[in-house]
């Protein structure tokens, strides 16, 4: 990839919004492009492989991506990704409610 022309790289939050939820030790994060024109960029940026590689200590299990193209949405299901979940985690945010902002903070692949 070419070096960016300016120092400020755009992040996912610039083109999409997201919400996190939990079921046990599984985290799910849904992400939605504001503009349909950016849906492909969102898909290229947020691949299951990149997400798993970026947070190796947090996401211990598989990352599955479901696509809702007609709504420009992606749903990520991350197994063993909540440090044990509400039953075990000593993270202040044991539900991983804040984790949507982990994905929203990633730099866009453009």
């Amino acid at each position: 990839m070419n070096a960016p022309r300016c120092n400020i790289r755009r992040i996912v939050r610039d083109i999409a919004h997201a919400r996190s939820g939990d079921k046990g030790n599984t985290s799910n994060i849904n992400v939605w492009a504001y503009d349909p024109a950016n849906y492909e960029l969102l898909k290229c940026t947020l691949t299951p492989e990149r997400i798993k590689q970026t947070f190796p200590l947090l996401i211990r299990g598989q990352v599955t991506r479901y696509e809702l193209p007609h709504l420009c949405g992606l749903n990520f299901v991350m197994d063993d990704a909540l440090e044990g979940g509400v039953n075990r985690s000593l993270n202040l945010d044991s539900h991983g409610k804040s984790f949507s902002y982990l994905l929203l903070g990633l730099e866009l692949e453009e």
Binding site: G24, N28, L90
Partner: protein, 444 residues
């Protein structure tokens, strides 16, 4: 009936009350649902009930009933709630007391039980979503509750109850039941049950669909969030619905707020399991049809699951949390020194080997394991957490953190410490024919 108007008056156990009263007073609703249970909420309810047989239901029940029952009677709105938690019978009895005190003569309160399946689940029941079985857990069981669906709720609607109180009623089923009853959707009519389940799913978290949990200033601005309104669904007999809210309330209903809730805590969008249906949200259409009005359609569904999910709650011991703050030059270095002291002394002096987690709030806490750290913070808080079956371990940890006030790095202040009981939950499955919901209707 052409349109059924259903609202949400609580989306979790500690949700707000004043907007619920406003919604009943001005919403001309057919029904209002108060969804107040999480998996762990039931387990905490069981612990409360063990301590006092008259407790174990939502601690805000009396306050909520006192405010809402008169408004519901005036508006002709019926209420469905799982505030009964681990003790629906006591919750119904308390509701009757409140109704009588308020002079609401003739108010019909239905109590649904039968979700407690603790005598039916064998010790060798395998976990639903992980290896192992119940007998593997070396902790005391506090309760086991099966998720009940519309088949448990519809008889209470047939009995024309004004208030329906249950325990582990599945969240979307509390919305689906009055829709299925009103529109005469049969238990085998999976497409309509799937559509009604979408309505329930969008509504069950209250303001999470009307602008709550959405605001991100400068990026996703929400008007008057402090006065956010609870949602209303105007549901048609084909299962499509318009999600909206009262005029004059804060918040917003837009395709974006609806979409964030559409897949909230959903895994495969084409396969969302409830006690009533395998719902399919993968082809749902979401369209703005007016200010704060969003139409949802094209949800569907297939077979009803033969097995019901059961949440098993265990006594999880205690969690201690303690904190102390450092600010100004070298704050991070001083806080880091405190971290090392606490870790060292808990192990060496007290011999406490439990998992201890130490965070520096402002530098690295929520995202610590994700590896995302701030670097510039000059106002940081040491936060220590520990979980143990022995309360004494938590007490020792609190003592150790507090001792930093005199014995630790310079300038630490603002000590707080708290110890709270914990629960742990696991999920198993039970054949649905073994679960026998019961109904009792009482009149004030």
């Amino acid at each position: 009936m052409a349109i059924f108007r259903i609202g949400t008056g609580a989306g979790f156990s500690s949700d707000r009350l004043d907007p619920a009263v406003d919604l009943v007073e001005r919403g001309t609703l057919n029904a209002i649902v108060l969804e107040c249970l999480g998996e762990r909420t039931v387990a905490f309810g069981h612990r409360d009930r063990m301590a006092d047989p008259q407790r174990g239901y939502n601690s805000l029940l009396e306050r909520r009933m006192r405010a809402l029952l008169p408004a519901c009677r005036k508006a002709g709105t019926m209420m469905i709630t799982n505030m009964g938690a681990a003790n629906p019978r006591a919750a119904a009895a308390r509701t009757l007391d409140v109704a009588r005190e308020l002079g609401l003569k003739g108010l019909k309160v239905a109590c649904i039980e039968g979700d407690d399946v603790s005598t039916l689940v064998p010790r060798d029941a395998p976990f639903m979503d992980e290896p192992g079985m119940l007998a593997d857990v070396d902790l005391p069981v506090v309760g086991m509750n099966a998720y009940l669906g519309i088949d448990a709720i519809i008889p209470a609607l047939g009995a024309k109850a004004d208030v329906i109180i249950g325990g582990r009623l599945a969240d979307p089923s509390m919305f689906l039941a009055p829709l299925a009853h009103c529109f005469s959707w049969r238990a085998s009519d999976m497409p309509h049950l799937g559509a009604g389940t979408l309505v329930g799913h969008l509504m069950e978290c209250g303001m999470q669909v009307t602008g709550g949990y959405f605001a991100d200033p400068g990026v996703k601005d929400v008007e008057k969030l402090a006065d956010c309104g609870y949602p209303i669904a105007e549901v048609h007999d084909d299962g499509s619905a318009v999600i909206t809210k009262l005029p004059g309330t804060g918040g917003c209903v837009t395709p974006a707020t609806v979409k964030e809730q559409l897949l909230y805590e959903v895994h495969d969008p084409s396969c969302y399991l409830t006690p009533d249906v395998t719902a399919d949200f993968s082809r749902v259409e979401v369209a703005a049809v007016g200010p704060d009005r969003v139409k949802v359609s094209r949800a569907s569904g297939s077979s009803r699951p033969e097995m019901l999910k059961v949440t098993v709650g265990f006594d999880g011991g205690f969690q201690g949390e303690a904190g102390l703050s450092y600010a100004g030059s070298g704050a991070q270095e001083r806080a880091q020194l405190a971290v090392e002291i606490v870790r060292d002394r808990m192990a060496r002096v007290h011999g406490v080997k439990n998992d201890i987690r130490v965070d520096l709030i402002g530098v690295s806490s929520l995202f610590a394991t994700a590896g995302v750290h701030a670097t510039e913070a000059k106002d940081v808080r040491l936060h220590v957490a520990l979980r143990s079956r022995q309360k004494e371990d938590a007490e020792l940890m609190l003592w150790e953190v507090e001792s930093l006030l005199c014995c630790g790095p310079a300038g630490g202040g603002g000590y707080r410490g708290v110890i709270a009981p914990c629960v742990m939950t696991k999920s198993v499955l039970i054949p649905r024919e073994q679960v026998k919901p019961t109904l009792e209707v009482m009149v004030a």
